[in-house]
């Protein structure tokens, strides 16, 4: 490894290769507490050329690696266990913005809000807005197919990525998609987006920018039961009115936020709030606002407050966006899940989550993208308390299994990474997992990129033996 470090230092400079344990501590976890892995070394290329040379040097040496953006991921996906970590956070150039054609090309380390600020100068914005957008990078967003509150109306990262130049783990450089519109053949860009660093590293990403909505209205509806808020959510979706965002926070989460520096003026005696953004052209918007407000009241909202101005709107959203930060006050550790259910199943699953939490003696908080059915059940706990940690694990496992039973999935925007890999066989059958493995094999036949993530390797190996046997002419 020392020789490899020397080789990499020749490419990026001595200061950009970290090998000592103390200097690697910052890279032993990501945004999800509970996982800790230490890379053998970390290397930080500062230019596209350096990144290419680093990947090719690792390919020559046959060394596995893990790409990492800002490390804000919530699935343990950017952790390197005894392998090389490639930090992409120095590749921060916005290469071009074409306001007329509404596209931007950026290096992978560009922070989401940096792109937002650059686009705003042209009256445009980049739609995916993860809660970590002030720190997370576009490369990381593409790797995870990141979402955010406003993806309800505008779609996730996949829907806004039009092209990427990618270096494959073996050093080959390929162009996926095209800023010029349609490309013939397989949607390789679609396969790459959300591949969690297992298919290679984006040298640049070209994304779509949208014109800012002419008008936005933000509503805060508070309810005296979670069930009522969930039923209001289902009713709003069923009308066909498509809010830009439709978020829910339960009463416990509201009280935590209000006790923190992120206090947003939410009513602390309620059991749930819905935060709704409606945007678009001015004409007709007030009708939708009135319809949503009426539905909230019909389903039991005690009050529906409409933000009077941009400052109030920002304040209301601050409470939602910083809610997970506020949870840090409750206990030293936080487990945060990311399941999705069909939207009509929200009332049932929220009730079941409450029951599961109670069974394990845990308070499960719900702060989530209700309009998408994208749940984020969360528990603050003390990992040093072995009994509590064990109960948290069992509780979260039951919640995930319940979401799968309701016809849902195990991740809507955080990715599988390490955290959800054990749930994959519950969601997908062996043949589907095997097919996913075969796709990875095409991009990375040596399994050197972010190995051990997304699809369980052990089942993968077993399963891709079977089709190979069948391909020999013995189809069962």
């Amino acid at each position: 490894m020392q020789m490899l470090g020397t080789t990499l230092a020749r490419i990026v400079g001595d200061k950009r290769v970290l090998e000592r344990g103390s200097s690697l501590v910052a890279y032993t976890s990501d945004g999800l507490p509970g996982y800790s892995q230490t890379p053998s070394l970390a290397v930080f290329p500062g230019t596209r050329e350096e990144l290419i040379d680093v990947v090719r040097a690792l390919a020559d040496a046959g060394v596995p690696f893990v790409p990492r953006g800002a490390g804000t991921g919530l699935s343990g996906g950017a952790l390197a266990d005894g392998t090389v970590l490639i930090g992409l956070n120095r590749l921060t150039r916005i290469l071009s913005i074409d306001p007329d054609n509404r596209i931007a090309t950026v290096e992978p380390g560009v922070v989401n809000t940096s792109l937002q600020k650059a686009a705003a100068r042209h009256g445009l914005h980049y739609a995916p807005d993860p809660s970590s957008q002030s720190a997370c990078t576009i490369g990381g967003n593409v790797a995870e197919n990141a979402g955010g509150p406003h993806c309800l109306k505008y779609g996730v990262t996949l829907n806004h990525t039009v092209a990427a130049t990618v270096i494959l783990p073996d050093g080959e450089i390929v162009t996926l998609g095209s800023p010029l519109g349609e490309t013939p053949g397989y949607d390789l860009l679609g396969a790459f987006v959300g591949s969690e660093g297992c298919f290679g590293i984006a040298l640049d990403c070209t994304v779509r920018l949208l014109p800012n909505a002419p008008a936005v209205r933000t509503l805060l509806a508070d309810f005296m039961s979670i069930d009522a808020a969930a039923r209001a959510t289902s009713a709003i979706i069923a009308t066909g009115i498509l809010p830009a965002a439709l978020e829910m926070m339960d009463g416990a989460a509201v009280r935590l936020v209000e006790a923190s520096v992120y206090a947003a003026g939410y009513p602390t005696d309620c059991e749930a709030v819905l935060l709704v953004d409606l945007d678009g052209v001015v004409d007709g918007l007030e009708d939708d606002v009135a319809a949503v407000a009426a539905l909230c009241r019909e389903f039991g909202a005690r009050d529906v407050r409409i933000a009077a101005d941009a400052a109030e709107r920002t304040l209301l959203w601050q409470g939602r966006k910083k809610a997970f930060g506020a949870m840090g006050r409750a206990a030293p550790h936080l487990v945060l899940q990311d399941a999705v259910v069909p939207r009509t199943r929200l009332p049932a699953i929220l009730q079941e989550i409450g029951e599961i939490g109670a069974r394990y003696g845990l308070a499960v908080w719900n702060i989530f993208h209700a309009g998408d059915g994208n749940l984020h059940p969360s528990v603050s706990y003390d990992a040093a308390n072995a009994d509590e940690a064990h109960r948290v694990h069992l509780c979260m496992t039951e919640i995930m299994q319940a979401c799968i039973r309701e016809g849902g999935t195990i991740t809507g925007e955080h990715g599988v990474g390490l955290d959800k890999i054990d749930y994959m066989p519950s969601l997908f059958d062996g043949d589907t997992l095997a097919a996913m493995c075969r796709l990875r094999d095409v991009f990375d036949p040596a399994h050197r990129a972010n190995r051990g993530k997304v699809v369980p390797i052990h089942s993968c190996r077993e399963w891709h033996q079977a089709p190979a046997g069948r391909a020999a002419g013995t189809l069962p």
Binding site: D100, N101, N145, C151, G155, L158, L180, G181, E182, T183, G185, Y186, D187, L188, G190, A191, V193, G194, C198, S234, A238, G240, G280, V281, D283, G284, L285, E286, D287, V340, V341, P342, R343, T344, D372, G373, N374, G407, G408, I410, T411, G412, E413, V416, K420, M424, F428, D431, T432, A434, A435, M436, R438, L439, V442, F443, P467, A471, G473, L475
Partner: protein
């Protein structure tokens, strides 16, 4: 769709269940017979010629298996027609925002397999944006079920996007789950006739700078406009928007300040999707949105309507021009097969012998390796040999 004139004489295996599709695939592997994957064969000469010994028809693998209107999602078997989907969803005030060219008895399986879309892509995107999950049988005979029934899902590698637009080359798609939208309360179509073709860049700029929120915005050439009753022979821009009373009133107002608009029969969108009938060649040319007017001008100069019968329409939001040519198409072959800098060219339908010089986008590099990984014996829609 996906019809194969090369395999017209080949026997057809009609499947009515996923199990029968798997059996057909196993039989194909056992006797090394390539399969032509077919839906309703409403687009019988679309795509490159295939080398197939049997036609695997999914026409009868049809029906809606799950529809929960409150979730705005629907799951249907591949052989379900677009008309059946429209009928079922309209009953609940919903629709699938997908209007590909072709007859409405064409199947959803073929639509997704070919990633076909139409003018509504302006607002709702292409199939990659609408498909939530699917089932497919690979060349190994195994059934894969990526994605799901939820509107947000990043679990596992994205086989949904891989199969969408794969033209059956990885194996037949058997079932698809799609995202639906609410039908707008009012659905309005207006036409803007252009006195001079040169007005298009100005109008395009004005439309994009405006506060319009459109469902579709399509330029149509003058001859086609006249034949569809849109204009008196002038080029025209068809604009579609939908929403509540206030919204529609406001959008009309914005449009009327930009250009003189006349109401148009919404049926024009259906007519536009049927321009292909009798065509000898259909291609799409895409590029930057701002370069669209110049692209249209060049294509008109190269594909002259006094030489062949030509219809063109273009998405003003996506920069894609669709060119439909009938008559002596060989006389404009160089123009239809030329590839210009800054443009992408997608052939939909070409004379048989032209395909020999068309590159196979599924055959080389990463794509070729992916195809081999899912269909190692080239059982599914293998293409006739090409010279490219």
């Amino acid at each position: 769709m996906n019809g194969d004139w090369a395999a017209v004489a080949a026997p057809t295996v009609y499947t009515r269940s996923v199990g029968e599709v798997q059996s057909a695939m196993r039989d194909a592997a056992a006797d090394a017979t390539a399969l032509q994957i077919a839906g309703a064969q409403s687009w019988a000469d679309g795509g490159p010629p295939r080398r197939a010994g049997r036609v695997l028809s999914l026409r009868h693998l049809s029906g809606i298996s799950t529809y929960v209107p409150g979730d705005l999602t629907i799951t249907a078997y591949a052989g379900t027609s677009l008309a059946e989907l429209s009928h079922a969803t309209a009953a609940h005030g919903q629709w699938l925002g997908l209007d590909p060219a072709g007859e409405r008895h064409g199947t959803i399986g073929a639509t997704i397999s070919t990633a076909s879309s139409g003018p509504l892509a302006h607002a709702f995107g292409t199939p990659r944006d609408l498909v939530l999950g699917l089932d497919a049988v690979t060349g190994y005979g195994e059934t894969v079920r990526p994605g799901g029934r939820v509107v947000k899902n990043v679990a596992g590698f994205d086989l949904v996007r891989l199969f969408t637009g794969s033209w059956g080359t990885l194996g037949p798609i058997t079932s698809i789950t799609l995202r639906l939208r609410a039908l707008p309360v009012h659905d309005v179509t207006l036409a803007i006739a252009l006195d001079e073709p040169a007005q298009l860049p100005v109008l395009l700029h004005a439309l994009r700078q405006s506060t319009l929120s459109l469902l579709a915005c399509e330029w149509v050439d003058g001859t086609t406009s006249k034949s569809l009753g849109i204009s008196d022979g002038r080029d025209a821009v068809l604009v579609r928007f939908g929403g509540n009373d206030s919204f529609v009133r406001g959008q009309r107002g914005v449009l009327s300040r930009l250009a003189f608009c006349e109401p148009s029969d919404p049926a024009v969108w259906g007519a536009l999707s049927l321009l292909d009938a009798g065509a000898g060649a259909v291609i799409r040319v895409s590029g930057s949105v701002t370069g669209l007017p110049a692209r249209i001008t060049r294509l008109r100069q190269e594909i002259r309507s006094d030489v062949v019968r030509v219809a063109m329409h273009a998405s003003l939001n996506r920069g894609v021009v669709r060119i439909i040519v009938a008559g002596n198409v060989n006389s404009v072959q160089p123009a239809l097969q030329a590839l210009h800098d800054g443009e992408q060219r997608i052939p939909e339908r070409l004379p048989n012998d032209w395909w020999a010089t068309e590159p196979d986008p599924f055959g080389v590099g990463l794509a070729g390796r992916i195809r081999a990984a899912f269909d190692p014996h080239a059982l599914c829609n293998p293409r006739m040999a090409t010279n490219a």
